[in-house]
């Protein structure tokens, strides 16, 4: 059949293993250069926000321009702490997985500003519908490290009672939804949650996150459509970390227009933001939250960042992208950038940073020690397998009761 030459366009990343990283495809506007419009602007008047890149931290680590949220240094130190904690936690858990002590792990390396900045910009009553790379959100909203670790261990203290893969956390108390595993499903759920909030005339908004790759899923479209039709108070975040496992963002349609522009055709404003600039992310999130709370409806935020690590512990990125791509990423590392900003402003130092890192490592290690007390994959205490039949329904139907009995009988036999 292939008598003539194929004309099908096949997206190609700018660099493959062994080649020079090349981020020339990213449209980078200088820090401070993008106007900040009023939150009640008409979508069509602020289309530039979806093309340009909102940035606050400049090359000299100064916070500049109209989007500068002018946050207290104290608060910024707190933000830095959270990002660092996220990084240290991930590093440790990754190691732990490598040692075979948990079955699976996913890290947020390079994307920590997303969860931390956005988590800080939202109110506690706002409901989060995260993806699997938002662990920072849980930390920030008060979920204890040890509880997160116990989830990863599926042990007796596991919030999921052993039912979920590691990192599929949730917290009703912290207003963070549970993770499905099927990509994107949380997006329309967030919109529905926001619709209910609007129906009740409440102030709470919803926020959801998914990756560049996941925008291709149907639920992305459903969420945008419903959010636009009902003007739901929701922030829809696309974390564009350039990769979806082995395929770069061009395979999700990112070659021609930024993801931030995806809602424009429905009248949903989009903001493209430097996802590694905590100040910028914080500022745009506040803007979108404010807009939503005032009845302005949904905003789509594209967070331009880079997946610093492997997709998951099951992945080997050296097979499909240059090893040094992360270090070549022009938007750098969100932790490093905030650190340098604070140092430049005289509110931080390398020494403090090192001390903090050590402190957090100790904290994480202590949590790990405590978590193991509630059981590991190989050592008890173990969760009671009989609990496997709980929570399928509000009340256990007779058929599950009898399966449970049978299971216990068999497990106790031989």
């Amino acid at each position: 059949m292939a008598s003539k030459k194929s004309r099908l366009h096949i997206p190609r990343p700018t660099a493959r293993p062994g080649e020079e990283p090349d981020f020339s495809y990213l449209n980078l506007t200088p820090a401070g250069s993008v106007d900040k419009p009023p939150v009640n602007s008409r979508t069509r008047d602020i289309e530039y926000l979806s093309e340009d890149l909102v940035r606050v931290l400049d090359e000299d680590h100064k916070a500049v321009g109209p989007w500068n949220p002018t946050i207290d240094p104290d608060k910024l130190q707190v933000a830095l702490r959270w990002m660092l904690l996220n990084r240290v936690f991930d590093d440790r858990m990754w190691q732990i997985q490598r040692q075979g002590r948990i079955s699976f792990y996913m890290q947020a390396a390079g994307e920590e500003a997303v969860s931390i900045a956005q988590g800080m910009a939202l109110r506690p009553g706002d409901m989060c519908f995260p993806s699997y790379r938002n662990q920072g959100l849980y930390m920030l909203r008060g979920v204890k490290l040890v509880d997160m670790m116990c989830q990863c261990l599926s042990n007796t203290r596991d919030m999921c009672k052993g039912r979920q893969l590691p990192i599929m956390y949730h917290s009703k108390k912290a207003n963070i939804y549970s993770i499905s595993g099927n990509l994107g499903t949380q997006y329309p759920n967030a919109v529905g949650w926001a619709m209910a909030s609007a129906i009740r005339g409440e102030d709470h908004i919803a926020a959801s996150w998914l990756g560049d790759g996941s925008t291709a899923e149907a639920d992305f479209h459903h969420a945008l459509t419903f959010a636009a039709v009902y003007q739901a108070p929701v922030i829809l975040n696309v974390v564009n970390n350039q990769w979806a496992i082995s395929t770069f963002q061009g395979f999700a349609g990112g070659e021609r227009r930024p993801f931030a522009a995806r809602g424009l055709g429905l009248g949903i404003p989009g903001i493209r933001v430097d996802g590694n600039d905590l100040l910028a992310v914080y500022a745009v999130t506040l803007w979108a939250a404010d807009r939503a709370r005032r009845g302005g409806g949904p905003t789509l935020i594209e967070l331009v960042t880079y997946r610093g690590g492997a997709h998951s512990t099951s992945d080997d990125p050296s097979k499909y992208r240059p090893k040094d791509e992360w270090s070549a990423f022009p938007l750098g590392d969100p932790i490093e950038r905030l650190k340098q900003h604070l140092i430049t402003e005289g509110h931080w130092s390398e020494q403090k940073h090192e001390a903090l890192t050590e402190e957090l490592k100790t904290e994480v290690l202590a949590a790990w020690k405590e978590a193991q007390k509630a059981g590991t994959m190989t050592e008890g205490p173990f969760l009671d397998p009989a609990t496997m039949f709980d929570d399928v329904f509000a009340e256990m139907p007779p058929s599950l009761e009898s399966q449970r009995r049978y299971m216990l009988e068999i497990e106790s036999g031989e």
Binding site: V191, I199, H221
Partner: protein, 339 residues
């Protein structure tokens, strides 16, 4: 008591719960201003407002997905899918969110969504307005699936479904919306007023999920069925002169196995019948279960009568539909076989 057809009974059920619980909202295609293509929500938007009876974009995945989020936020959403054949675009939300949410969050989150959807053939709907996909939902751990066969049950079970904290897929056999149907399309239509189950209390009552009903008792054979075929089965039994016990399963899951096995142990013979495609259909589960529970009482193989393993053809609706003839043949076969 009032006389209601199934549409009126469903509407009345919705009305009763909406009145009782301000958290109940309805979401679906054409359900609002228009009142639904089958009129099940007619008048409810006028009564409860546009913010509780909500017209939706044509996106079943979006409807179910948004309903789930509403449920997580404390509402009690009733989503209408216009035809059961159109539920597939929302299938991932049903399986991966609705059915799993409570389990995966160890009970912290749940969403009490009820999905109402008209199913079944017999209205000349062709292959995409006639399907009965209940077996597929029965297989999904974490949701309840039901199908009433008359106005009284429809209202009572719908109220139970909406008030349940579990997600429920509520199938409405559209062929019997306006009257019971004995399987003979050439006979004049019969209204629900001629049927005792067309008498429906106007106010609040419930019919519990998880219970089957013996709609006709008999000694020679048990017919296990649900939906439209409940009525066809009775007519077929009468035609054959066999003293059949007819059981309306009503609740696809949870299944009331006790009522089934009590009957089959008594009669020693069993015919299972449904409209859906036979292969890997729900009749297989009923059969498998009954052969286990009643093995030593069975005098003949359990018969299975169902739609053929083809799509539902427009022109051959009545050859496809398991009507009186086919059920009667099934009954005779089970009766003739010697133990």
């Amino acid at each position: 008591m009032a006389q209601m057809n199934m549409i009126e009974a469903i509407r009345s059920g919705l009305d009763v719960v909406m009145d009782k619980d301000p958290g109940v909202v309805i979401l679906g295609e054409d359900v609002g201003y228009f009142g639904g293509v089958f009129r099940c929500t007619d008048g409810l938007q006028r009564k409860y407002g546009e913010h509780r009876v909500i017209d939706a974009p044509i996106a079943e995945g979006g409807i179910i997905g948004a309903a789930i989020g509403m449920g997580v936020n404390g509402l009690r959403p009733v989503a209408e899918i216009q035809f059961a054949d159109y539920i597939y675009p929302g299938f991932d939300q049903v399986v991966s969110e609705l059915a799993r949410l409570r389990y995966r969050s160890a009970g912290e989150f749940f969403s009490p969504v009820t999905i109402r959807t008209p199913c079944g053939g017999g209205i000349r709907g062709g292959q995409t307005h006639s399907q009965s996909p209940e077996a597929i939902f029965a297989h999904i751990a974490g949701i309840k699936t039901v199908m009433p066969s008359n106005p009284y049950d429809a209202k009572g079970m719908l109220i139970s479904a909406i008030e349940s904290d579990d997600p429920v897929v509520f199938f409405e056999p559209k062929r019997i919306y306006n009257g019971p149907f004995d399987g003979d399309p050439d006979k004049p239509a019969v209204p629900w007023t001629s049927h005792p189950k067309g008498e429906v209390p106007e106010g609040y009552y419930t019919v519990p999920l998880g219970s089957a009903e013996v709609v006709q008792s008999g000694e020679e054979l048990t017919i296990v069925t649900y939906g439209t075929l409940v009525h066809v089965a009775q007519a077929a039994a009468e035609a054959t002169g066999v003293d059949a016990e007819v059981i309306d399963v009503r609740s696809i899951f949870p299944l009331d196995t006790k009522t089934l096995s009590n009957s089959v142990r008594k009669t020693g013979r069993c015919l299972v019948a449904h409209e859906a495609t036979r292969f890997s259909g729900y009749g297989a589960e009923l059969t498998a279960r009954i052969q286990k529970d009643c093995f030593y009482h069975l005098e003949a193989p359990i018969g299975r009568i169902a739609g053929w393993d083809t799509p539902y053809p427009h022109a051959f609706e009545w050859q496809y539909f398991p009507g009186k003839k086919r059920l009667a043949a099934g009954i005779r076969k089970v009766m003739e076989t010697q133990a």
